[in-house]
């Protein structure tokens, strides 16, 4: 029997599913003319789902016999995901206006991806995890090749699809091993079975599951797809990939590591430490030679994922809270940075993505340059911007968990990372002006950019609030 409490606990998913289906019908009957209406309705649906998060926790934390969790952790992650998804929808129309390629399905696919991501972060069972992951991935593959006439976009979609299916296969193999050796697909069941020692088979399953999830957060050594997909996908889609699915996959990774594989903590800790180190190093070094800002953002996201994983490597409630705070701040920085990147259009309104074209931007577009500088400084981790607090929290948690060497390495590498962020600022402010951009940006882009910039600059005022929210989220896992 389906209990009402279970249904109320998944109210956000129900709202999004219902509105996704209705929007699909509007899109089917209205055709391309309905694009604007569908976009705004999709944002409203995400907003409604976000508001319904307030009530969903009251009926949790366990719904559908443990398949779904509606706890503080899932509410925290879902709030971030819905916000980022809404921003990705709002940022799209101006970009696609040049090619006339925006169709109403864009918003619909993002809504369905949001359902999948919501399922990912509130999974209490390997099956929920997989179904949510596939729902999100399928929508993402299509979004990556949304500009199907564009060769690079199609290539990005195909690459993402092939490698993503491979990762899903690896993940499924790991899940089947875990199921075979523990006799349960539920996270708590797996944790109980692992309680009396971790067998070889369980260890193999753990490694494969973590490998599959590492692909989804694009952590080294499973990062190969990221630069190509980020570069090829339409820029609003890249903004989406860089924000919402990252939070969802990171939330999933944290939940699986703590809730399901908690008793095997010492085993996965070394894997996470290695992945974090490799991601930080590779993301910092490989970004230096990039000429396309979208590729640079891809390497930057690999780098950031490494830093976020430092918190998880600690394996303590404080570490998990730091990881979740990091993701929240990272999402704001990413959305803001992409709101800037989306305004990089030449005089004819055609999007450009070379770093060289940014040269001397400060002389023509003062506001845009300032925003760029804020986001780049923040990503580099310069205090007092918000990005500094994110890094501070994860290193603090790592040191508290006796991972001083890891923290020291991370700090050293963030100096290398700072080089390419600062290089962009130098190009904008101190180089000879290149061909000027379009004189004015879109209103929506400007509003989102300004809002993110304000949060980044005055973010430390929000710190008590953010700390409380992430601490509550982390506490619900332990």
């Amino acid at each position: 029997m389906i209990e009402t409490a279970s249904l109320l606990a998944v109210l956000p998913e129900l709202i999004l599913t219902g509105s996704g289906l209705v929007l699909m019908l509007i899109a089917a009957f209205g055709g391309d003319r309905s694009t604007h209406a569908v976009n705004w309705l999709a944002v409203l649906a995400l907003l409604a789902a976000g508001l319904s998060l307030c009530t969903s926790m009251a009926h949790g934390p366990v719904a559908f016999d443990g398949l779904v969790r509606a706890d503080a952790f899932s509410v925290y992650a879902k709030a971030l995901i819905y916000g980022a998804a809404g921003a990705a929808i709002l940022l799209a129309p101006r970009f696609f206006a040049a090619g006339g390629a925006l169709r109403p399905e864009y918003a619909v696919l993002i809504v369905f991806a949001a359902i999948g991501m919501g399922m990912m972060v509130s999974a209490g069972d390997m099956l929920t995890l997989y179904v949510g992951l596939e729902m999100n991935s399928l929508a993402s593959y299509v979004l990556a090749s949304f500009m199907r006439q564009d060769e690079k976009s199609s290539e990005a979609g195909l690459k993402y699809f092939v490698l993503g299916s491979l990762a899903s296969g690896i993940l499924l193999y790991g899940i089947s091993l875990l199921y075979g050796f523990t006799g349960s697909t539920a996270f708590d069941g797996i944790a109980i079975a692992m309680g009396d020692g971790v067998s070889k088979g369980e260890l193999f399953g753990l490694v494969f599951v973590l490998a599959g999830l590492a692909f989804k957060i694009s952590a080294v050594p499973f990062h190969m797809w990221t630069p190509d997909v980020y570069e090829g996908a339409p820029t609003p889609v890249t903004a989406f990939f860089g924000s919402a699915p990252k939070v969802a996959a990171m939330g999933l990774m944290v939940r699986v590591a703590i809730e399901a594989l908690g008793p095997a903590g010492l085993d996965w800790q070394q894997i996470i430490i290695f992945v974090a180190l490799a991601s930080i190093l590779f993301g910092a070094v490989a970004a230096i030679g990039q000429t396309s800002i979208k590729r640079l953002m891809a390497y930057s996201s690999i780098n950031n994922v490494g830093f976020a994983l430092v918190g998880l490597a600690a394996g303590t409630p404080a570490g998990v809270a730091a990881t979740m705070s990091y993701m929240a701040i990272y999402v704001v920085m990413t959305i803001g940075a992409f709101a800037c990147i989306l305004q990089m259009r030449d005089a004819d309104g055609k999007p450009v993505d070379t770093i060289a074209s940014l040269a001397g931007l400060s002389q023509s577009r003062k506001g845009l340059s300032a925003a760029f500088a804020i986001f780049m400084f923040s990503m580099a981790g310069i205090p007092p911007l918000f990005g500094f607090w994110a890094k501070f929290l994860v290193f603090d948690a790592a040191v508290a968990a006796n991972l001083t060497a890891l923290a020291a390495f991370g700090i050293a590498m963030s100096v290398i990372g700072a080089f390419y962020y600062l290089k962009i600022i130098k190009t904008i402010y101190f180089d000879e002006p290149a061909a000027p951009y379009e004189a004015k940006g879109g209103a929506v882009e400007n509003i989102i950019m300004a809002a993110c910039a304000i949060v980044i600059v005055f973010g430390y005022l929000l710190n008590p609030l953010l700390d409380k929210a992430s601490a509550a989220a982390a506490a619900s896992l332990f």
Partner: protein
Amino acid sequence: MIHVLAFYLFAILVVSSGALTILSRNPVHSVLWLILAFFNAAGLMILLGAEFIAMLLVIVYVGAVVVLFLFVVMMLDIDFAELRAGFVSYLPFGLLIALVLLAEIVLGIGLWSAGPVELAQRAAPANPELSNIQAIGGILYTRYIFLFEAAGIVLLVAMIGAIVLTHRARGGVRGQNVAKQNRRRPQDAVRNINQPVGQGVEL
């Protein structure tokens, strides 16, 4: 006795139709032999008491996958004689794969007879009173209803994706206008004339 007889009947047919699948010259015949092999494999499954898998085999493999094969074989212009030309050069590779598979079977049987794999107690042993289909249906539509519905949405997303990526508005297509068709009366479309002999027809 009848079980043994049925087993050997199905087993021989599976093996021989499998062999004919790769040996027949005409690719369409190959696909048809493959269908026969699947049907007999379904028979073997029923002998094992796995009637759900037997039905899946028939519905999914015969009904969907093999029919798809058939479409591909008939629609694509593949020169099978040319494909076969490389048989000798690929033979060592094929033999290698066959050897690997054989080793896997031997290993699998060896491990199985060496003792059960160290599996934990299953959380919920199946009720022997129920048939497979009842057991699966009972759990799929109650405990796992959330995932069942979610899987439906995954399929919907796949469908939307396929349409988004491939659908384009074609020019010069005559769409069907049902209202216009219904509005049309016989007197608008049909003319009765008394055609005089020896004169041309006026259109």
